[in-house]
Symmetry: C2
Subunit: 116 residues, 2 copies
């Protein structure tokens, strides 16, 4: 069992040509005994974005804070607090912050994916 | 693919001897092509709580709004926005709202669990 607040986990910062102004945290993973899926939280500051990419595993995403957009199916879709997004396997996707405040979402992946 | 806000989904209300003042929504499930885990959101009003029970599947929970508590391992643990909870299989657990405002969390389950 585990009870933790994400703000108590040290983030891994990501900032390069593909990923801008993103802090990632593994909240629940295989080390906790979670063998079927892992929960991560990504927080991005102003102009932050994830890479535009695809991979053989799906994402299940829930927007916790802020406003942003997800690129899927050739277009950008608006996201706000409470949005849920299913990205099927092998579908190109990208998330970006569209405001000056932080944009944060949880993103779950199956065991075939890297945990963070 | 799917993009939806949970507030646009009609809730299933639960209010009986075991579950009090809870509204449940399936956000992402097998009908969407999500074969590895399903995402639900539970929102509870004042004095709301889930059943105290155990089952052979795990929960991965993320607190989106409000403050509450989870019973696990024989004690109550405080929860606030941003709390992540891993409930392993066969561990007795219960969630409850401890404030007068709504308490809402996402709860993910593997395919062996009922979706809602």
């Amino acid at each position: 069992m585990k009870v933790i607040n994400y703000t108590d986990i040290l983030p891994v910062t990501m900032d390069n040509d593909m990923v801008k102004n993103v802090a990632g945290r593994l909240l629940i993973g295989r080390e906790d005994g979670a063998n079927n899926f892992s929960m991560r939280l990504f927080e991005m500051g102003s102009k932050g974005h994830t890479p535009k990419h695809s991979h053989p595993w799906e994402h299940e995403v829930f927007v916790h804070k802020g406003t942003g957009e997800v690129f899927m199916d050739g277009q950008w879709h608006s996201l706000s607090e409470g949005s849920a997004i299913f990205v099927p396997p092998n579908v190109e996707h990208q998330f970006r912050n569209t405001a000056d405040k932080d944009f944060a979402f949880v993103c779950l992946v199956p065991p075939t994916a890297p945990e963070l």
